[in-house]
């Protein structure tokens, strides 16, 4: 497979770079908000111009959690598709449409938040009501991403027709899995926004069903985090082996892991709602079991990564038990940044199992441990991998090179990030175990010893946050260098190939009807009865509340 990489035309590259631009502008804006939050929470700083803490918190969550991730992922995935199955002129036009729809939606939502009309955080829980423009903006971002998904589906379909009987290129297969998952999952949040929120925010519906809206949100909310993680896995499976000078460990196992991720990422949303009233605990437990199933493909991934390292090292002649590990290309930022991302996923994943452990969730639910958790998984594992991709993808697209100097700056950036995040996420984890709440501005509450301890950890978070912001400035600098100033040249687009004697991949792995069928069956199993219960036993609906968010 992928014996020949397709060249990316100038036209295509422009599209993929457009996505990268939005990514790095978002990183700067969202990161600045994050810095301000940690400073406010230290208790030593107040925001100027009467800006509300929760306004910048909403900007931070929406811009980094929804905008940066979605734009980077769709841009990167388009490039993978372009490299392996190609894109036609017509598809390219529709892809641009997806970009613009998403961008218009983003700007709409962002302005609404910035003028203080949507301080509802990125989860926008009812019955706090934002201005309708916020919900419409979010809906447009989702619709734009659907357009991108359908372009991707079309790309593979066209390729398959021209390559009868061949298996699809692995990167394209992975992109399709991720976009399928995204499409199936966003149907939930889109239903919630279009059917429940928009009519209610416009005043056409007097009340809203709070629990139903939350259930629809979390039906989307967990696959959302897997939508972030899967592109990182793509890089780990197909890019990293090439960078370290090796080959794919197993095409079939990689596909199998992605199929399992598709099946088990969605029917698990209740593990975000474990402490909520109105949901039968037996159904919560069933979704906890399904959540634990989604750990399995990650266990497979861990083995696969180590095995790739070891096989590659042994082929190079390192005989000792861990000699292959020492000789990994530590001085190559394209490897180092994603590697630290992988390492962060060890405590991140272990913490995730704790979070999902049914009644044990009470230990951490809505404490700042959770914030620490996703700054480890999303903001370290995923983001460092995305940075790792940026170092070669951007120069590849702009016809430049990652110079030794920029490589070195990248390594410094990786260390700054790791250091800052260790302090910030570490102190969030500890403060959370001590009961410190998340999503809260600085407060001394009733005072006392407990609160004083929390504030000490918040000061540590401000130190970590400041270091991270320096990391963001450096990363934005590197991005600008790679876009405009790095010397012209050819930067490789690293995609690993299979071993010459690799076993053939079973055909069943590309039986889309089967995998989509099982996915839908699992969703119906996990959600049908509890959702009917929620609707049947729903209390009187909730009228909107505007003044609580300062509108």
């Amino acid at each position: 497979m992928t014996k020949v990489q397709l060249p990316l035309s100038k036209k295509e590259s422009r599209l993929y770079m457009a996505f990268m631009w939005v990514t790095y502008i978002s990183l700067f804006v969202g990161g600045l908000m994050g810095l301000l939050q940690t400073l406010v929470r230290s208790g030593k700083y107040t925001l100027p111009f009467n800006i509300d803490y929760y306004t910048i918190l909403t900007v931070h969550g929406v811009i980094l959690g929804l905008v940066l991730t979605t734009f980077f992922i769709i841009g990167f995935q388009f490039s993978l598709m372009g490299k392996t199955v190609g894109i036609s002129d017509k598809q390219l036009k529709v892809a641009w449409l997806s970009f613009w729809v998403m961008l218009v939606g983003t700007i709409m939502a962002a302005i609404t938040i910035l003028v203080g009309e949507a301080s509802v955080l990125y989860t926008f829980y009812a019955p706090l009501r934002a201005h309708p423009a916020f919900y419409i903006g979010l809906a447009l971002v989702i619709v734009g991403s659907w357009i991108a998904a359908f372009v991707n589906f079309r790309q593979l379909y066209v390729w398959k027709k021209a390559h009868k009987g061949e298996k699809s290129p692995l990167p394209a297969f992975m992109v399709i899995i991720n976009m399928l998952m995204w499409f199936i999952a966003t149907i939930g949040v889109a239903t919630s926004v279009l059917v429940l929120f928009i009519p209610w925010s416009l005043g056409y519906a007097e009340t809203i069903n709070v629990l139903l809206s939350r259930t629809l949100f979390w039906y989307f909310g967990h696959p959302l985090v897997y939508f972030w993680l899967l592109p990182a896995y793509m890089a780990w499976y197909v890019v990293i082996p090439k960078i370290i000078g090796g080959k794919l460990f197993s095409d079939a196992l990689a596909r199998m892991a992605f199929i399992l991720l598709l099946m088990f990422s969605i029917p698990v949303g209740f593990h975000h709602q474990l402490t909520e009233p109105g949901i039968d605990p037996t159904w919560k437990f069933i979704q906890v079991v399904l959540t634990f199933m989604v750990v399995i493909p990650s266990l497979m991934t861990a083995f696969s990564i180590f095995a790739t390292f070891e096989t590659t090292g042994r082929r190079k002649g390192f005989k000792s038990l861990f000699g292959w590990f020492k000789k990994l290309p530590w001085k190559d930022v394209r490897f180092l940044a994603p590697f630290i991302g992988m390492a962060a996923f060890i405590p991140g994943g272990a913490g995730g199992i704790v979070n999902a452990s049914h009644q044990m969730n009470a230990l951490v639910h809505n404490t700042i441990w959770i914030t620490g958790h996703f700054h480890l998984t999303a903001a370290t594992t995923v983001v460092l991998t995305f940075f790792g991709i940026t170092y070669w993808l951007v120069p590849h697209l702009t016809g430049r090179r990652l110079t030794p100097r920029l490589n070195k700056l990248g390594i410094i950036q990786t260390f700054i990030w790791t250091f800052g995040m260790t302090i910030m996420s570490g102190s969030m984890h500890i403060q959370g175990l001590l009961g410190g709440p998340r999503r809260s501005s600085f407060s001394e509450y009733a005072g006392g010893e407990q609160v004083a301890t929390w504030i000490n950890y918040q000061i540590a978070q401000a130190v970590g946050g400041t270091i991270l912001f320096i990391g963001i400035l450096l990363m934005v600098y590197i991005f600008i260098q790679l876009t405009f100033f790095a010397p012209r040249g050819v930067q490789e687009y690293p995609i690993a190939v299979e071993e010459d004697d690799a076993e053939p991949t079973p055909k069943i792995l590309e039986n889309w009807y089967l995998w989509i069928g099982i996915t839908i069956a699992l969703i119906l199993f996990a959600y049908t009865i509890p959702v009917i219960d929620i609707i049947k036993h729903s209390p009187p609906g909730s009228p909107p509340f505007d003044w609580l968010i300062g509108r």
Partner: protein
């Protein structure tokens, strides 16, 4: 998931590249880490 026929399929030419002892030790350490941390947090949960 038994031991089964994994041996038979192994291509001889690749014997050295299929030595995955280091990988095995690494993932098992990872597994032990998950176990220990889970039981640690469960103990904390029970103590409260």
């Amino acid at each position: 998931m038994g031991k089964g026929n994994s041996k038979q399929h192994q291509p001889n030419s690749n014997e050295s590249t299929h030595n995955l002892k280091g990988t095995f030790i690494a993932v098992m350490l990872l597994g032990v880490f998950i176990l220990v941390s889970w039981f640690g947090f469960y103990a904390l949960f029970l103590s409260r």
